[in-house]
Amino acid sequence: MHAHYVVIGGGLSGLAAAIRLARYNDNVLLLEKHSRVGGLNSYYYRNNRLFETGLHAITNYADKAAKQAPLNKLLRQLKISRDEIGFHQQILSEINFPDRSLIFSNDFNILLEEISEKFSPESDNFRRLVHDLDRTDPFESHPYRSARAILEDYLDDPDLIDMLLCPILYYGSSWENDIDFKQFVIMFRSLYQEGLFRPAGTIKNLLDLLVDKLNHFGGTIKLGTGVRNIIATGEKIIGVTLENGEKILCKHLISTIGLDETRSLLGTRKEVPDDRRLSFVESIFQIDKRIRDRLPQDRTCIFYSKTRPFTFEQPSTIVGYDSGVISLPFNFRDLNPDDDFIEIRTTQLANYRKWLSISRDTGQYDAMKCDHTGESCRQIEPIIGSFADGITYSDCFTPLTVERFTGKHAGAIYGSPHKISDGIIGYDNLVIAGTDQGFLGIIGSMLSGVAMVNKHILSKL
């Protein structure tokens, strides 16, 4: 078989790359290993209900008038209208530390006012920081710089630095306790200056829309189709061999499965295991909606740290409970819930090796998952109110779950700490897109797919 363009990975970056290619070219083939598209942001069914994986909230909210905002650029590039998505903005989100908190929303002034009120000596420093961030081009190629070190040049209060970093690290850092400054700038804009939203319906609606777009432009998706290896001659990619042995020859290959994961398929992965990849465990609690009155009414996401200083590193225990994210997806604007249940979701740092070692015993692994959801509930109840008695169903995704369904090594959702900003890893016709290209979040990873196809393929046609 032959396809001009092959995209590996049917996550959001792969779907976006394939739509972009198919819009202007024939013979675009998207290969997804799993039986369903979405990658990290997908869904599954339990008890006849759909549960989302991954999605808490989407960053990069922008009004229609902001034509140059990443969200609107992306929609134009994929020929998707805003009405096809449907937007539910966040109400408020909170950064919750011992004795201190900050509120932010999709109006950046709220955060500015919060900082001048609660960190008044830092108010001018923070404005100076924002002024300089606004003039920084995060897409300029630059070696790693510590965002923390740069923040320390502007701000004196270590709590404020930690509090600003906490949501940014949880929503996109593949480094411990820090993040590359370029990525910090991108995340600062997408999270604080733009803000959070949810699409109408569930992630399935968004994925169905993307699949429909790809089909409309004449692209093809093959589900349940894993790639065994990438065939290269010198610096040229010839094609791929599928897990079923079939060969597909191609002119261009776009890989969205991650840097190390792509190198594995090329047979050029360094054998030294990357132990410092950060993995997480995510829990879902389905709750009787009558409990809702006890829970925060206006908080969409809560980023918490129980300790000062805040730490963001691989825990020595199976899960680290000192910090995390609590997502309350019922607190977005203009939702019309006709449902008897609400959901609470948590994300906490996990130790991949510890999960791996107990997974040899299925019984022990399942018991540990159960212990974890219980513990996660107990850990967050002091922050949001008690809800354990209303739980009707709970589940959790360990780093092994993520690895199994998404192929991300060590279940590291934000990928490798090494980012390839130009998407090129030494082959003439292979482009890396997605998280390991350095864009973050749902909008970021889709823009990565679009930007890499534009830069390396469409503009060279």
Partner: protein, 103 residues
């Protein structure tokens, strides 16, 4: 509203085949493509000698789409180094006129 120029007198009828596009046709084509890229695009007060980018709030990704649409609709190959010729409506027209005649 952008004034629709009256009958074009700029090209020699001798060289124009039935299928050839007039400058007006080319302007319409460009505006149609831009409208297709951004259905909110507002052509009122568009100055054909000023950059489209500033007036219509377009970026390099949108310009790539103009190039891609020209390729798709008229099989035109526009090399990356020629993109600056697409800056204004008039420069687009001047650049595309000979290419569309050859096509």
């Amino acid at each position: 509203m952008l004034a629709k120029p009256t009958a074009s007198v700029e090209h020699s009828l001798v060289n124009v085949s039935e299928n050839s596009m007039t400058r007006d046709d080319i302007k319409d084509l460009i505006l149609e493509i831009i409208e297709d890229i951004d259905d909110e695009a507002d052509f009122d007060d568009l100055d054909p000698d000023k950059p489209l980018r500033d007036q219509l709030d377009l970026d390099s990704m949108d310009f790539l789409d103009i190039v891609m649409e020209l390729r798709k609709r008229h099989q035109l190959q526009i090399p990356e180094e020629d993109y600056p010729h697409l800056a204004t409506l008039n420069s687009c027209t001047a650049y595309l006129e000979p290419l569309l005649k050859e096509a």
